[in-house]
């Protein structure tokens, strides 16, 4: 069993996904953190200057918002099914509001899991949970 397998098993039991994210270089680069709340993995991204997309607003880069949405979906799927991580087949982001230079959250809701495919909807928000900055949807190939 790989080290990641062990960490995922522990995270699925404890609800603390930070030890898993600490092993993923890109998650460390962005500064992602994730905790289980109820049955949902809530992804948290503290603001940092390297995340800025528009300096005059300033705002969080749209690609970072997309990355948070996609990561929320992949973590939610791994929480529900275990490893391996699903592979993204397609992924769409609707940008609804400016993501301000503040903490960002992302959550995912699995709409359907078949034998091979999972369809997932995602939502990114800041201080107002009912005012999402972006919505995502994607199809994921299960391992």
């Amino acid at each position: 069993m790989s080290e990641l397998d062990v960490l995922i098993r522990a995270a699925r039991a404890s609800g603390d996904y930070d030890p898993v994210l600490a092993k993923l270089p890109y998650a460390r680069f962005l500064g992602l953190s994730a905790q289980l709340e109820g049955a949902t993995v809530v992804l948290r991204l503290p603001f940092s200057p390297i995340l800025i997309g528009n300096t005059s607003l300033p705002s969080v880069h749209g690609g970072v918002v997309g990355a948070a949405l996609e990561s929320a979906a992949l973590l939610q799927l791994v929480h529900e099914r275990g490893l391996p991580f699903a592979k993204t087949i397609d992924f769409t982001v609707d940008y609804l509001r400016v993501a301000r230079a503040e903490e960002l959250y992302a959550v995912a809701e699995v709409q359907r899991i078949g034998k091979r495919i999972a369809n997932v909807r995602m939502r990114a928000y800041q201080d107002q949970e009912h005012e999402p900055v972006a919505l995502g949807r994607g199809n994921f190939l299960l391992g």
């Binding site: 790989s2 990641l4 092993k23 993923l24 270089p25 890109y26 998650a27 460390r28 680069f29 962005l30 200057p49 390297i50 995340l51 800025i52 997309g53 300096t55 880069h61 749209g62 690609g63 970072v64 997309g66 990355a67 948070a68 996609e70 990561s71 991580f85 592979k87 993204t88 087949i89 397609d90 992924f91 769409t92 982001v93 609707d94 940008y95 400016v98």
Partner: protein
């Protein structure tokens, strides 16, 4: 200031683009076409076992690229409306990614972009991209 200088300035001054190492490879203002590069870097890996860059890096590259294509047409995007990425084949680890897209249609309010992400051969794309932008309101 020419459209090309705007695109160069946009890429050069984008903090997240700089953090990722995104660079402008070429830009054709007539076609609204830009090519950007994203170097392979250890710290951007999503899966430590395969060494493949995280999908978020591709999303950031293609979002940046789409905006650059709109700016190349001498118009100012206000915001990305939506962005869709289809993952066509796995990326090869330890190789740079190239994003190649065009802003192929502009209306009074909206700009449309399509393109690909590849690793040297545009006929073998890693991903397909479509994006739409709402434009800044014409104050004149």
């Amino acid at each position: 200031m020419s459209a090309l200088s705007y695109v160069e300035q946009f890429i050069r001054t984008l903090p997240h683009g700089q953090a990722l190492g995104i660079q402008l490879v070429s830009c054709d203002p007539t076609l609204g076409r830009c090519v950007l590069s994203q170097p392979w870097r250890e710290e951007l890996v999503g899966d430590p076992d395969s060494g493949v860059l995280h999908g978020g890096v591709i999303t950031a590259l293609l979002d940046t690229l789409s905006a650059a294509c709109v700016i190349a047409r001498s118009i100012r995007p206000q915001a990305t409306l939506d962005l869709r990425i289809d993952y066509l084949r796995p990326a090869t680890p330890r190789m740079q990614l190239l994003g190649d897209a065009s802003c192929y249609r502009v209306t009074r309010h909206v700009a449309f972009v399509r393109g690909v992400c590849h690793q040297g051969d545009p006929e073998q794309p890693v991903a397909n991209l479509t994006a739409t932008f709402i434009l800044q309101e014409d104050k004149s």
